[in-house]
Symmetry: C2
Subunit: 332 residues, 2 copies
């Protein structure tokens, strides 16, 4: 084990969005590292929270069902924590366009409320904020590094930008030790696969296992990168424990860049059955699609020593195995 | 008169923040141009709304006292309008740091609500949004053009950025014809001079007229540019009537760049009395000060034909004359 991760033994760690895909996977890892873990989650049905995600560790973590928009609950939860993994967020781009206020409330109002609470009751808490590559918009160049202009193409991207900037501002202004990770497409066990709300890859996994064809939008030539969830968890842990990370923004990214068509073919191959078909973009999706994207993650490699470890084929196989076994908990 | 401004004859025009400094000055001009003007303003005491600003035109405009955060009032007001000058905003940088939620609600939640209302009830309404040079943060180069990175240094700047981006997004996504102006320091009659909430120049005007010394923070060497309010009104009118402006962002800027010390000396000279003194920055102000700033406004000159007309000395004299006569309405 990376000796740096000894940090977590006996530490109090709070995870917002803790019943979600990444939050719950992080919770499992933190328990292995000896941390005392509190999970806060709203369990809003359209979002990623799912109690089954922590069924096997339910007795070993504190669970607080509340909305990050609730300032009183938050005040109670933030006190005494050593680390906050701030993963709660509205992630659906389409939802943010159909009804922008909930996205704004969760991705901005609640983030400011969390930071104000930390400032007033726990200003030395270490915070890692999960941002997104979506804020870059349509890339000017590839791979996209952290210097690329921020140019979001939907309400969700605008609000996530603000949320990220609040964190950096509270670092520079109040000295709250924050780090921002800009995640790319993350996939793996415990993700929401019921529909395409978190990522198209979720619904692809479901459809493959249901024997339905995967729908690839457009000509399938858009190139993307992907991170298996365990790799994202590793990055979150490094970001929380490296002093060098304080005040910094890091891209994550995948070592394999594939077109969506190639990804669909890989998934079919990994599952041993199924097929995909190209379908035209829906008008509302087309408007906010960013085309090719893949990230330059050399900064986090150089400064924190992070590298993705799980190959795409391997990650897809693990994901398929998980949902084959547990699909009843995710879409039935 | 610019024949383009014939556009306004008989048009329905809505101004949010209509009882404020710029909004009320714009209302006067629009009446001259033959428009039918509705002003919406919250009259929140800390902001810039002041019924005296429209005392001389009170019978010729519609006034609706309500908060732009109120979606029902807004829905009623937006219907049937040809143009919306969207000037309502929380403008105090310090207030945004002391208590960030009201700034967020007004500069983001309300802006999204306004845009959603336009989208649903009046998607062809022409919108001009008043943004701010503050979103550039500490300049990388001078003068700052519209390509300069956006890097706000306080909560207000982050939220104004989001507000601006929502407008551009609703233009590209829904075709609502929006234009964004990034204002620099605007001054003149009808501004809030009771305190430094809108700009330090307000409190300077008050102190000079009260026989108090002007306080210049730091060494007074920070260079800035200024626009007299009539010039800003002229830019707003051009932005609302030029098809070329749709979807565009324009800097405003002053033709004279002066240090704060020079400005203070100019104000003393213009008033015929008074003095200034250098005082150390308060810690909270220092943190969000951006140093030198002046804008490159060649884009709006080239595309819309706008140029500032009122020299700084002349503008200061007019402002002093206004407050000498009307100070009872602004700070007594």
């Amino acid at each position: 084990m990376n000796p740096q991760l000894e940090f977590f033994r006996g530490r109090q760690v709070l995870i917002t969005g803790g019943l979600g895909f990444i939050g719950s996977t992080l919770a499992h890892r933190l328990l292995e590292l000896g941390a005392r873990v509190t999970l806060v989650d709203s369990l809003i049905p359209q979002y990623g929270g799912n109690l089954f995600n922590i069924a096997d560790i339910r007795e070993r973590v504190q669970v607080n069902i509340s909305d990050v928009r609730d300032p009183y609950a938050l005040r109670h939860l933030v006190g005494g924590q050593d680390v906050l993994f701030n993963l709660a967020g509205q992630t659906s781009h389409l939802d943010s366009m159909k009804d922008p206020q909930p996205d704004l409330e969760i991705n901005c109002n609640a983030q400011l409320s969390i930071l104000e609470t930390c400032r007033h009751v726990n200003p030395t808490i270490r915070i890692v904020f999960a941002s997104t590559r979506q804020i870059y918009g349509r890339p000017d160049y590839l791979p996209v590094d952290e210097q690329h202009p921020i140019r979001p193409v939907d309400v969700n991207g605008i609000n996530k930008t603000a949320g990220e900037w609040y964190h950096l501002l509270y670092n520079t202004t109040y000295g709250i030790p924050c780090c921002v990770l800009r995640l790319t497409n993350t996939y793996g066990p415990r993700m929401r696969v019921k529909d395409a709300r978190q990522t198209f890859l979720g619904i692809w996994l479901r459809r493959i296992l249901e024997g339905q064809p995967i729908e690839v939008f457009g000509d399938g030539s858009q190139r993307r990168d992907f991170n298996y969830v365990d790799d994202v968890v590793a990055a979150l842990l490094l970001a929380a424990t490296s002093d060098r990370a304080i005040g910094q923004v890091y891209n994550l990214g995948g070592s394999e860049v594939v077109s969506l068509k190639e990804l669909a073919a890989l998934l079919v191959e990994a599952s041993g059955s199924g097929r995909f078909e190209l379908v035209p973009f829906a008008a509302d999706l087309k408007k906010i699609d960013v085309g090719d994207y893949y990230g330059d993650y050399r900064k986090i490699t150089a400064e924190l020593g992070w590298q993705p470890q799980v190959a795409l084929r391997e990650g897809l196989q693990r994901s398929l195995a998980f949902y084959r076994q547990h699909h009843a908990q995710y879409w039935d």
